[in-house]
Structures are given as C-alpha cells and as structure tokens.
Amino acid sequence: MPDLSDILEVLLLQNYNTRLVVLSTTLLGIAAGLVGSFLLLRKRSLMGDALSHATLPGIAIAFAVMISLGGDGKSLPALLLGATISGVAGIATMLLIRNTTKLRDDVAMGFVLSVFFGVGVASLRMVQTLPGASAAGLESFIYGKTAGMVQSDFLLIALVAAVASLVSILFLKEFLILCFDDGYAAAQGWPTIFLDVLLLGLVTAVTVIGLQSVGLILVIAFLITPPTAARFWTQRLLPMLLISALIGGASGWLGAVISALTPQLPAGAVIVLVAAALFLISMLFAPTRGVLPRILSQAALRRKEDRQHFLRAVYEILEDQAGEGPVANRSFPYEALFAKRSWTPSQLRGILRIACREDHLEPTPPGRLRLSEPGFGEAARVTRNHRLWETYLIQYADVAPGHVDRDADMVEHILGAELVRELEVKLGGPLPDQTVPPSPHLVGDR
C-alpha cells in the first residue's frame, strides 16, 4: 500500500517518473471533455466507438512496417500514425456501407467496429511472431497503460490535446449550429460537410492520443462520460463545455495518479471509473438536472399541497359549523376531515404530524382538532386563493363549475403573491384583507 507521502508526491506532480504521464492524461481529459461534448451533441457517440476500435489494425501494421525497416517498432508517433490511418479507413468503410446499401447506421458501425477490431487482434498476434520483434507493449493499446513516458511522446500528446481543445473552442459557434440544426446551418450556407469532417478529425485526434494511456476500448467512455456528466449541471453550451473539460481533466489526473500508485490496475479502466464516479455524483446531486434535487423539490411541492389541502378542508369544516354566521376558529371532530377529502388514515396522520410541527394545530382532547391562530389565518388565506382562482377559471377560462375545483387544485399551489394580486385586480379590485369569498361551487360537492 502506498503511504500518504507517496500519494501526495504523485498527486502534486513531484514524482519525476509519473509527472509526464499524469500531465498527459490530464490534458487528454480536457481535450476529450471539449471534443466529446460536440460528439455527444451531434449524436455520433457510436461512430467514435467504431473509430477507436478501427485503430487496432493500424497499430499492428505500423509495428510490422517498422520492424521490417529494421527498427524496434516502438516509435509512438509512427504507431499513432498507423492508428489514425486505419481509424479513418474504418469510418470511410462505414460511410461506404451506409451510402451503397440500405443498412442502417448502427449496423454499419457495429460491422466496422467488430471486423476492424477482429483484424487488429489477429494481426497483433501475427506481428508478435515476426523475427526480431518484441511486441510485448502493444497490448497496452487495448486496455491502456501508464508506463513511463519519454518527453518527446509527452510533447506530441500535449500538443495534439492543446490543438484539439483550441479548435473546438474556436469553432464553438459553428459546431453549435451544426449540432443543433444541421439543415438550418446548411441553408445559411455553412459548409456542414467540412464541419462534420473537422469534428470527426478532432475526435480521431483525441482518440489516437488516448490510445496509449486509456486504451482503444475505453477511450470512447472518456469522450462521452464527461459531457454527459456536465449536462446535469447546466442548461447552456459554454458552461457545459467548461464543466466537461474540468471533469475530463480531473478524471485523467486522478485516474493516472491512482493507476501509478497501484500498477496492477490497467490505467484506462481506472481513468474511466473515476469519470464514471464523477458522472454518478453529477447525476445524483447536480442542482440543475440531478435526480436528488428533483425528487426533493417534488417532495416539497407534495408536502405543500398536502398542507394546503388540509387547511382548506379545515376551513370548509369551520364554514359548515358557522352556518350563516362569521367563520370562527373552533374545535371540530377529527372524522369530519374524511368527508372533505379521500385521505387514508395513515396519510392524514402524516399530514397532522407536519401541521403540529408547523404550529398550525393546538393541543386538543383526542378525537378533536383545533387550529392555532396562525393556522387559522393560513387556512383562510389558502381557501381565499383557491376560490379566487376558481372564480377566475369560471369567468375567464370558461371552465365548467363542476370541474373548476380540480383545475384550481392543480394550479393554486404554485400561485405566487404577484399572481394572486393580479387575480384580485382581474376579479374586481382587491378584496378586503382576509375576506374569503364564497365558493363558486357547492363546498364539499365533489
């Protein structure tokens, strides 16, 4: 187990052996986050997957060519060049299949993905048996490996990542209109084919420089996970790009650190798992589109509805008790509530518990209930809003009196103070404070 000082050393890039690797995966993550955002918005994720799998034959062939030229076959730029060429060939095959047959896109992509990958695995085996070849490192392109990195390799990866990031920011507006509405973009005269090729070129570049550390199977996850996670935090493109780059960079950095400290784990898997963890956190907790904030706000609205239904039911009971006289806050039998609304006893117990906590109820003998003074005021206000809205629906929206109670129910819980004032003005001037208009339909008649 590495101790804390080891961890800090790697984390803060003080360890010479891992510094370049950690820096390169961080830069890669930033580029993947930016380019991946557009890939995702263009709905071409699967194409990226086909592309990355199609790089394998190129790696094997580049290796074989280098061996036959008398080298040791381990030059990274040459291997990545081979990967690029066969990746592009894979995409070209896919487009060819799509345009000459009636096969659907996903079929063409699945075909390219599996066939190219199969060819790659087979040719990798074959080049390993070449005389003088030591292809032991080549398998790392499949799963990714953060082995030591020479400076020239690092510079190549850093340069490509920086250029890809800059280009995707530079073409922000052009990629936006392409991804959102390609037909409209073409009608405006934007060269959509060029933009698509450029985007695919960026995806190819990021994929290829990610081959060494993340591996070709998982690099698509590195492209897609950060923007998907970022989408939970924002509703606009620029923040999404920045958050996506941040998540991508953080996963590359943390993943490489963890993998450097535990060399038995494949780096690609660790990096992608870190990205997945960040995705999970975003999906659950992001305030804009996260799952938990949505559940919480729904629960809060339900509690508010329950409270308002309860208070209005009580007010109507008190109206019944008062008959022709003014409505006063008196105690009433617990059972009367069941006649007003179809509550189950356990539901009602929950509502009463909350009402007690909010000081809307006063202590009473068992079987009877009585509102507190603030509770009574609140009940009058809630009932008044409900009736105002009902009256508005009948007068202005032509809603039949028989349906008005249900329709009002749906809206009144979200009425703001401003809307209520507007209602008052519409319905003939502000009503005197705390005056509850009579119900426009028979109270309790549902």
């Binding site: 918005l41 073409f171 409209y184 405006q188 509703q235 606009r236």
Partner: protein, 276 residues
C-alpha cells in the same frame, strides 16, 4: 399499358425545346422543370412555379406530396434530379442573404443546452461570419425578434421548457433575425396552440404588408382561404397554383387529394419495384 391517346394513334409529348425563360429579379422564387428523387423514387415531378412578390403563399397537399421536399430542394438541402430554382433571378447560393428558412419543429432535439435567445441568435450567425461570437448588438436584435413573436420574457429559458407553440415562435424569431425578403416555412402551424397560431398569422400578414414574400407549408384545409392570398396545390406535381379564390376549388382539391395521379403513381411503383 394504355396510352392517353384517344384517336388510337401514338401521341408524342412536345419536347422541352423552348429556351430558359428569363426571370426578372423581382420574382422571389422561380422553379423550372424541377424533379427530385430519393434513391430513384421520384418525389417531385417536373415542377414549374413562379411565386409572386409580396404574397402570403400556402403550399397545400396530402402527406408525402413533397411539400417539404419542394422547400428543401429550393434551399439546395437535397440534390435535384433535374431543373432549377432561382431566388430573385439567381441561384440560391447567391441569394442566401435574402432568404430565411423555418424548418419543421420536430427536426431538432429540443433538449439541447441552449436557451431561447441562443437559438434566435443563430439567425445572425451568417452575418457574423466565421469565429465571431454573438455580440451585444446582435443580442439586442435577438431580443427584439423575441419581442415581435411575444415571448421576450422567455428569452433565458432552456428550450425544452418551452411549450410547442413557444418553440415554434423561437424558430420564427430566428428567421426574423435574418432580415430576409423571402421566408420559407415548413409546417409552422403544426401542433401549436390557438394563441400561437394567431400570433403567427399576424406576423405573416405584417411581413406580407412590408412587401416580404412568405411560402408556408400548410396542412389544415379549413384555414387555407382565411390565411393565404395565393396557394400552390401539390401532389408530386403542381396540381394548381394561383390566387386562393380561384385556385382553392373543389375540383382542384379533388385532383390533389383524390388520387387522380394513377399513371404517375404506377410509374413510381414500377421504379420502386425495379431492383437497383
């Protein structure tokens, strides 16, 4: 197969020998001999059409009649098998700045990370050119366009949180941003609320009163006569085109919707079943 000949002798159609008619530049849209086919299945046959300036024109026809295809072919969005379409006397690529396109609302993914203002600002992208970001002046114009369609208060709302009618208004505002002379609109009235429908009609009338020409794909026959000055009845070919009062007749509608195209359809069917 029978020929159309009545006298028993073969009838040869007149060959297209007349020279290309010259279109004066004030004709917003002139289409000649336009044929469009999707993978050899013809969708539009020999379309000849001249749209007069300053008119509110409806394109009406059954599903699959090629209404959207006609608009897309004029905008060079799909390849033409033959023929041409000229905008104010020149090919579309030279007249882009005079044309605004409103695609079908369902053609885009509305759960996209942009707000209403962002979408409307896209109308200025061509004007801005490469790499230049939307500036304050264009943002102001975008707000004004949203105001014209009555949803300025929703400018900063994410577009999936707009109703269908509001989304349609966003698309119209984006077209207004282009400050065009010819507006091509694909089903702007599809699945919108009554208030939006009225707002769109008002907008179209205003554009038309300013001398702009609007070409609108429409499917609701009940509103044709009240909305449009001029109509094009289409079912793979032009059935009739002209002022609404003279063109929107029972006879023409029968021809458009009543399946009087047996020969064309048979030919299309034959092409469809021929192995490629």
């Amino acid at each position: 197969m029978h020929t159309e000949s009545l006298s028993g002798q073969a009838v040869f159609p007149a060959k297209h020998t007349e020279p290309r008619p010259e279109h004066p530049p004030e004709v917003p849209l002139a289409i000649h001999d336009l044929t469009v086919a999707y993978q050899r299945k013809p969708v539009l046959w020999d379309i000849d059409l001249n749209i007069p300036e300053g008119k509110l024109v409806g394109i009406v026809g059954p599903n699959g009649a090629g209404k959207s295809t006609l608009i897309k072919a004029c905008l060079d969005l799909i390849p033409r098998t033959s023929g041409w379409a000229h905008i104010y006397g020149v090919p579309y690529r030279k007249a882009r700045h005079r044309v605004a396109y409103v695609p079908q609302r369902e053609s885009v993914d509305w759960d996209f990370p942009v707000n209403a203002l962002d979408v409307v600002a896209m109308g200025a992208y061509r004007r801005l050119g490469w790499f230049r970001r939307v500036n304050a002046a264009e943002t102001k114009r975008a707000m004004e366009a949203l105001e014209q369609v009555g949803i300025a208060h929703l400018a900063h709302r994410q577009i999936s949180q707009l109703s269908g009618g509001q989304q349609q208004r966003v698309f119209l505002a984006r077209a207004l941003m282009q400050d065009a002379d010819l507006y091509l609109m694909d089903e702007p009235f599809a699945a919108v609320d009554a208030a939006t429908e009225q707002a769109i009609v008002d907008l179209l009338r205003r554009l038309s009163s300013e001398g702009k020409t609007c070409l609108v794909v429409h499917h609701d026959l009940a509103t044709v006569t009240s909305y449009f000055d001029w109509i094009v009845l289409i079912n793979m070919r032009i059935v009739a085109a002209g002022p609404t009062a003279e063109t929107f007749t029972r006879d023409n509608l029968q021809k458009t919707y009543g399946g009087k195209l047996s020969l064309l359809e048979k030919a299309a069917e034959a092409l469809r079943s021929t192995p490629r």
